[in-house]
């Protein structure tokens, strides 16, 4: 028996190589670099890796090939999503690197192994040492996400899922303040994530059992040949459940509020922006490439899940009093909106239709906006860390008009008010759904948007029309990294709302799956 070397297009893999290379170098720096200069070096390595990944995806634009022995599909949609993840990842890393806001110069705990609340822990709280393991960990997660959206093979997809999840579980528990909450979030995320991974893996097994292949294209052929029957459908159900968990779609969203609240805010921003993109990229690829011929099997499912997610996210968001939890439910509602766009996908031939580009644009717009919103949350602080309780934001506009204005912009975008990217994105996905005849879904989506608008606008009203509390929070002066993030995300939120043409056109041209 001879083993043939798989064909390997290094050029097409360059973005992944860049990011994973940076992650490996980061591990080496962690092991051998001098402690004092580690932080700038780690930040530089991580940024070079992610930005290199971003640049190479741009250079690869137009590539359509299946490589690595058929395990990876480097195509328009994959590259667009990889670029989105790399870009949002780089911005998240900038938030990680912020050293001006926390009095102890970092949002991350110095030594995660020290028990929370112990004497040593209290000593370390004020030490200005920074912890740099988060950078390679986050870079690995970014690499995993980029792999996830180009995986052309269920097993590679599973591996990518684990590569992106495991570092996330870890860095969720690294908050410097409110450590118990952070650790609880990490454990919850880990347990439930493993549970979801098990679903996914079992789904892979069932599909393999039914079709004899794990290649998406192979599954497609087998399904089209009417092989498998019940087994394939069961496998599809389990695969979808695993992915919906990562995308925090209700009813698989229960981890989202707890983890978003407990994790360090830069990590929450990272998860909210990048994980969403990765999970939807995988959902799109799975449904379109592997089960494209089974459209009428999964459409009702997506229809129902989208409604549940929008309604749960919008309604539960109403009574949240913590801004991070509120944004978590907002993320659940937005997952529902994204699913309405997924329904716009016509699974015929090579044409991607209006659904795929709409979802891709929405992911980019939502990622930038939500990243910006969480970045603003890191600015507003009280004695015990970030002030995320709603009541603490009363009258913020009087204290810091610029912060309030920027936050209002992000909230308006999340609510989908015209002239913001949120409106363009919503318009695109709803139109895609309506074009495919799913207007009742678009109607529910509009109603849910109206309900959700209430809790976004409530924050704006609170900031502008309430008297500030006497012992209110202070608004920190951000350093260069956070300033860059805020500037980029705010500008993008406005530009994608006012002149979205170029990016919409790009998404249109890129909306191609191979495999």
């Amino acid at each position: 028996m001879t083993i043939e070397a798989p064909d390997l297009s290094l050029a097409a893999l360059a973005p992944l190589l860049f990011v994973f290379g940076a992650a490996c170098i980061g591990v080496l720096v962690e092991a051998f670099g001098p402690r004092d200069s580690r932080h700038p070096v780690q930040v530089a390595v991580a940024l070079v890796g992610t930005l290199g990944g971003l640049v190479t995806t741009v250079l690869l634009a137009g590539t359509r090939e299946v490589t690595a022995g058929g395990a990876l599909a480097v195509d328009g949609a994959g590259l667009f999503l990889q670029a989105t993840i790399a870009g949002l990842g780089a911005l998240s890393l900038l938030l990680f690197a912020e050293r001006n806001l926390d009095p102890a110069r970092s949002a991350f705990v110095v030594s995660a192994a020290v028990p929370a609340g112990s004497v040593r822990d209290r000593e370390l709280l004020t030490v200005q040492r920074v912890q740099t393991e988060v950078y390679p960990l986050a870079t690995f997660a970014i690499g995993g996400m980029m792999l996830f959206v180009t995986a052309n093979d269920l097993l590679v997809m599973f591996v990518a899922l684990e590569v992106l999840s495991l570092p996330l579980y870890l860095i969720s528990g690294l908050a410097r303040r409110r450590r118990l909450l952070s650790q609880e979030a990490a454990v919850k995320y880990f347990l439930l994530g493993s549970f979801a991974s098990a679903f996914f893996l079992y789904g892979v097994a069932l599909v393999y059992g039914a079709t004899g292949t794990v290649r998406l294209a192979g599954v497609r052929e087998a399904v089209a040949g009417a092989e498998g029957g019940t087994l394939v459908v069961l496998g599809l159900a389990l695969l979808v459940v695993g992915l919906l968990f990562k995308a925090s779609v209700a009813p698989f969203h229960t981890w989202t509020p707890d983890v978003y609240q407990g994790a360090p805010t830069p990590v929450t921003a990272f998860m909210a922006a990048c994980t969403k993109v990765a999970a939807f990229g995988a959902i799109l690829r799975l449904l379109y490439v592997a089960f494209g011929t089974e459209e009428w099997t999964w459409r009702p499912l997506v229809y129902g899940v989208a409604i549940v997610s929008m309604v749960i996210g919008a309604v539960l968001g109403l009574t949240q009093t913590d801004l991070k939890r509120m944004l978590a439910y907002s993320s659940v509602a937005h997952a529902g909106f994204l699913l309405t766009g997924v329904l716009g996908l016509p699974a015929t031939g090579d044409a991607a239709g209006s659904g795929l580009p709409a979802v891709m644009f929405y992911l980019l717009a939502y990622g930038l906006t939500t990243l910006g919103a969480f970045a603003v949350l890191t600015l507003v602080r009280s004695g015990e860390g970030e002030a995320t309780h709603l009541s603490q934001w009363a009258g913020l506009a009087q204290r810091s008009p610029l912060t309030a204005a920027v936050m209002s912009l992000f909230l308006l975008a999340l609510a989908g008010i015209p002239l913001t990217s949120g409106f363009t994105g919503k318009f695109a996905v709803f139109r895609a759904a309506i074009e495919d005849g799913a207007w009742p879904l678009a109607l529910v989506a509009l109603l849910a948007s109206a309900v959700a608008a209430f809790f976004y606008l409530r924050v704006i009203v609170l900031m502008y029309f309430s008297e500030p509390a006497v012992d209110g929070p202070t608004v920190g002066v951000p350093g260069l990294p956070t300033t860059i993030v805020l500037a980029v995300t705010a500008a993008a939120t406005l530009l994608l709302g006012i002149v979205p043409g170029a990016v919409l056109g790009l998404a249109d041209r890129a909306a191609i799956f191979v495999g």
Binding site: F252, W298, V315, L316, G317, V451
Partner: protein, 634 residues
């Protein structure tokens, strides 16, 4: 109507509008810095506009066809709607341009004196300039949308100026009333423009008049009636006349310029301009006739009963515009007569209002004629100029009103049918009533025993006020003769209205003139018998005949408005507020409570325990798998 592109001075005709607009902008935006010289700038811009307008008109007289279109820029261009901003200078609009800027200039000059002691003088001149600019746009635009913009602009200026002394509740109420009633008319005009666009795809005069021939009769009639509604609102014609007398709450120069000489004649302009539409719809023209006849009698009757000098003049305006409506309703034979009467009326009514302002100036803003009397000797210039205006208005032979009013009556009689006799009769009767109420006004104001207290010291107004009055008085005397005999207006307007067929005179013009003069003399005599012969009581007698009582209450027009529209409107408002509070708010609040409640109830599922989360996920997975299986099985 053939137009040629504007050349030379005519291509600068936009400056006529731009100058007063610039004045308004400088005065409004310049703030207090312009207080010292603002009124002079405002006056200068209008005078400059008049000079420019005069030069344009002179040049226009030399242009072939007497019509010039000056395209400025594209105003609206969306889909199939294309509205260019262009100006149309033709004999009709040029005539109005001269009237507006000419009378406007005189009244600006007068206002320098009249408003000298008002702390908000600059603002007054700014609004006045704004009015002149908007009115010029109204008459000079070459499409209905430009007309509408001007129409609303003069409405705004009128509102602002009626309420100029807004600290007086009566002024604020009057402004509101004018605004609301004008809105009713404006809706008609707007709908008419919508109909034009829907049916013809254009709103330019050229396009509309070229296309109306192809329209169905019903559409044409609707168009005519909608335009008439707009005209009635702006011109204070029945049934939308009630706002005009109340509008006298504004400063007197405003009453003279806006509510006598120019703005209120915009309705006449609208109908005359839309002549090609009315020529095709006898039904709408009949309604115009009816409106004109009813209003001219109504105004004349009510004018007999009021004691407020400005209100009498206001009802007189209502009545005289009724004459103009009657004339335009007659069709081609009446257009030129209507415009001629409009012009002479502009002279003598503006002069009368300025005279009334001068009297009020002398009497400390008193308007009740029962407190005047014997002012002829104290205010000689005012008396003479006012007297000439009075004679012109009542149609004293060979003064302005005589020529133009007679022309209208002749045109009505020339119809030859019963309607012609009826309309002619109404017009002659109106002339008699006009003579009665105006003589009554003269007698109560300038003659008889002084009924004012000695400490009022009536004094003649400064020359900055009397000079415009003199100029207008000269116009009152000569304008009619000039327009009818020397520079015949109907020849000048022929490019617009065409050459009317030479109608056969049913009654000889000389006889008409004789009869009208006789009726006028009767009216004067009656006024002498009822008012001049005896002492005027200082308090209006309470025991009067039902006719007088009705006339004192404006023939119950306000009562009708109040009971038919205002009170039901208030009830409707109250009902809607109730529905809004109980129904809409209730539904909204209920919905919010429901959502909030379900939010807290659903939120209980978020226990914080991983085990329950996992259970939820498992449940979800089972449902998902079950649903998928159900779908494939089914």
């Amino acid at each position: 109507m053939d137009t040629v592109a504007a050349e030379g001075l005519l291509s600068a005709s936009w400056l006529v509008i731009a100058l007063p607009l610039l004045g308004a902008a400088v005065l409004l935006l310049g703030g207090r810095r312009t207080d010292a010289w603002g009124h002079l700038l405002g006056t200068a811009t209008v005078v400059a506009a008049f000079v420019l307008g005069l030069l344009c008109t002179v040049q226009l007289a030399g242009v072939e066809g007497h019509a010039v279109d000056a395209e400025l820029f594209t105003f609206v261009s969306t889909g199939s709607l294309d509205v260019g901003a262009g100006l149309l200078v033709d004999p009709l609009s040029a005539t109005f341009m001269l009237l507006i800027t000419g009378v406007g200039s005189l009244i600006h000059v007068y206002s320098i004196g009249y408003m000298a002691h008002d702390p908000r003088r600059r603002r007054f001149f700014a609004y006045l300039n704004l009015f002149v600019a908007a009115m010029l746009l109204l008459v000079l635009g070459d499409n209905y949308v430009a007309l509408y913009v001007g129409w609303e602009g003069v409405g705004l200026a009128s509102y602002l100026l009626i309420a100029f002394w807004h600290d007086r509740p009566s002024a604020a109420t009057a402004a509101k009333k004018a605004f609301v009633m004008n809105r009713v008319g404006d809706v008609g005009l707007a709908l008419a423009i919508f109909v034009m666009f829907a049916q013809l795809g254009t709103v330019s005069y050229e396009g509309v008049f070229g296309g109306v021939g192809a329209l169905a009769g019903g559409t044409l009639t609707a168009l005519g009636l909608l335009l008439l509604l707009g005209a009635c609102g702006k011109s204070g014609q029945f049934p939308l006349q009630a706002w005009l007398p109340d509008a006298m709450e504004g400063p007197t120069p405003v009453s003279a310029l806006i509510h006598a000489a120019t703005m209120v004649t915009a309705g006449v302009y609208l109908i005359a301009r839309s002549a090609p539409i009315y020529d095709l719809t006898p039904t709408a023209r009949g309604v115009v006739l009816a409106v004109g006849a009813i209003t001219l009698l109504y105004g004349a009757i009510v004018g007999c009963a009021y004691d407020d000098i400005k209100k009498v003049l206001a009802y007189s305006t209502v009545s005289q515009i009724g004459y103009m409506f009657l004339a335009v309703g007659l069709g081609p034979v009446g257009y030129a007569a209507a415009i001629a009467h409009l012009l002479t009326h502009g002279f003598f009514k503006a002069g009368l209002f300025l005279g009334a302002g001068s009297v009020m100036h002398a009497m400390g803003d008193e308007v009740d004629m029962r407190r005047f009397g014997g002012l002829a000797r104290r205010l000689p210039v005012t008396f003479v100029t006012f007297g000439l205006g009075y004679l012109a208005l009542i149609g004293f032979p060979f003064l302005s009103g005589y020529w133009t009013k007679d022309a209208i009556i002749e045109a009505a009689l020339d119809r030859g049918d019963w309607a012609g006799w009826l309309l002619g009769g109404v017009a002659v009767l109106g002339a008699g009533l006009t003579a009665f109420y105006m003589t009554r006004l003269m007698l109560m104001t300038f003659f008889g025993r002084p009924r004012w207290t000695e400490d009022q010291h009536p004094h003649e107004s400064p020359s900055v006020m009397t000079a415009p009055m003199v100029v207008l008085a000269v116009g009152s005397v000569a304008a009619g003769f000039l327009l009818v005999q020397v520079f015949p207006l109907d020849t000048w307007l022929e490019p617009v209205f065409g050459v009317p067929e030479e109608a056969e005179h049913v009654v000889a013009p000389a006889l008409v003139g004789l009869v009208v003069t006789a009726v006028m003399a009767l009216g004067v005599l009656a006024a002498w018998l009822f008012v001049g012969r005896r002492e005027v009581p200082e308090v209006a007698p309470a025991r009067v005949s039902p006719v007088v009582r009705a006339a004192r209450r404006a023939l119950y027009a306000d009562t009708v408005n109040e009971s038919l529209f205002m009170r039901p409107g208030q009830w409707l408002t109250r009902a809607l507020v109730w529905v809004d509070n109980r129904g809409v708010d209730g539904a909204v609040n209920g919905l919010a409570a429901t959502l909030g409640g379900s939010s807290s109830r659903l939120g209980r599922a978020q226990t914080g325990f991983v085990r329950s989360y996992a259970l939820g996920m498992l449940g979800g997975a089972v449902v998902v798998a079950g649903a998928l299986l159900a779908v494939t099985a089914g």
